[in-house]
Subunit: 291 residues, 2 copies
């Protein structure tokens, strides 16, 4: 695992006695097979993009990490320890333009009552091509109704858990159909999110993203896009969208920390265009240190 930095948190939660994060060799196994993160996908994660050595929107990521923990009845992550571990991992890594920093906390070894936590930093694979050329996207049923988060919280919609097998399967399915990515849709036909990113649609001088109460993640990159938009005089709104709305939109982006704002160049086989000047501007903003 070249150019990868691993930092382990002996005390990842506020319930633990404080202990400093420690460097470890990422090529050496860290986890027992009876860690519930392994055996049950029972844990949470965040992926932060460190641009020029600065972890972008780390506060927003840590806030979402804590929300995910609460939804899984996990102890609250010790935010300051995680923050330190992130900065240690970034500082220990050879300088690269973009460094992905993954934070993971699991329920730990079964019966131990102690969570496992670590931070892994590795160079962001060059996403320049998809960021500039865009991606072909297939809409796929998520199978759930729009009210699933409130009516069935045990389904953990809206939590960023390690149980991502279906997100990966949805991406594989999209690829077998010649697409690059997917957008999930509720059983009523409402636009939700992509398997690893958020949806932002442009309608004239308004940017719109679907509401989190549909059981989707609050996108950190989407939040940065909205902050930028408001700063340059665009309106932003959190509103329900249908697939037809997406077809009517001007620019349409998938937003994530790793790929930033990636334009959708084809939706369900229908080619689409985007505002190139606006896109260049938002990308430049996302690659600039702000928070």
């Amino acid at each position: 695992m070249p150019e990868t930095v691993l930092v382990v948190l002996p005390s990842p939660t506020v319930a633990d006695a404080p202990a400093d994060p420690v460097r470890a060799d990422p090529a050496v196994p860290l986890l027992r097979v009876d860690d519930l993160g392994v055996s049950r996908g029972d844990g949470i994660f965040e992926t932060v993009n460190a641009v020029g050595g600065h972890p972008q929107a780390l506060g927003a990521h840590l806030a979402r990490f804590a929300r995910s923990a609460a939804m899984l009845d996990l102890p609250t992550p010790a935010a300051e320890v995680w923050r330190r571990a992130v900065h240690e991992a970034v500082a220990a890594h050879p300088p690269v333009p973009e460094l992905l920093v993954k934070l993971v906390m699991t329920r730990g070894v079964e019966g131990s009552g102690r969570c496992s936590g670590w931070v892994l930093a590795f160079p962001n694979a060059d996403a320049t091509r998809v960021r500039t050329e865009g991606v072909a996207v297939l809409t796929l049923a998520r199978g759930y109704p729009a009210d699933v988060m409130t009516t069935a919280p045990w389904l953990l919609q809206g939590a960023k858990t390690l149980s991502y097998a279906l997100n990966m399967a949805a991406l594989r399915h999209a690829r077998t159909k010649g697409a690059d990515d997917a957008i999930f849709v509720s059983s009523e036909g409402e636009v939700l999110e992509a398997p690893t990113s958020s949806v932002v649609a442009q309608f004239g001088d308004r940017l719109v993203t679907p509401p989190c109460d549909l059981g989707i993640l609050e996108g950190t990159c989407q939040g940065r896009v909205f902050a930028w938009a408001r700063g340059r005089g665009l309106a932003t709104a959190v509103e329900r969208l249908t697939v037809d709305d997406l077809h009517r939109a001007g620019s349409l982006w998938l937003c994530s920390s790793g790929r930033l704002a990636t334009p959708v160049r084809e939706l369900d086989g229908v080619p689409r265009t985007w505002d190139a000047a606006l896109h260049t501007e938002v990308l430049a903003h996302l690659l600039t240190v702000h928070e």
Copy 2:
């Protein structure tokens, strides 16, 4: 981790060059943090009960393991190597009445193209109390319609994956409501399965379980119960059931390899009884070596 045996499979799939399973110390970490089984819950598992040293229904478990692998586009598990690993783990363990043997295969370290595989054997926690006293069960929405497996295969319903965070959350939710376990119900109100077991309902001299095309697992213990039932002159049927049907049933069981046939003593707060003689008989059968 007292009385636990770990056997690692260097070559878990038919795509690998053959290599013998090897014993390893279960207290020593086995997995890197970038194993996709950890980072994405991207893998499959089975839990076999070895009674008096005999792994029950191992053929049925291995067949389901292979079906789960296919649904996740994983390479086919090398059945004979897994069989050997299971027998090695059982043979290496001090004799106990019931030994749970967990088979796990993950997509492996990201980018390696090699699956990770292991078998972990540990004594079955004494399930005598729940098997004889029964469990209180809450029905919970699974959020999906009954046709989800055929209309949206990327949701992986019917595959036994490591992405079990929601199954664990459903059990925690049931416990906060004073119940011991849950039964998932489709959005149309059809009975599906429990988070870690299958549902079998008795109507006179017929036993009924819901069909797998609802996107549920084919229960290995349920299969053994049905085989026993037919052998003693009961009829068996795979039919759709509603929660009302469950209330009308005679005995109602949750069936799994670990807890075998556990009677439901309360459903959604309504106390229920079961045929004690029949229950004693089915438990005795399940604890007898047959296959």
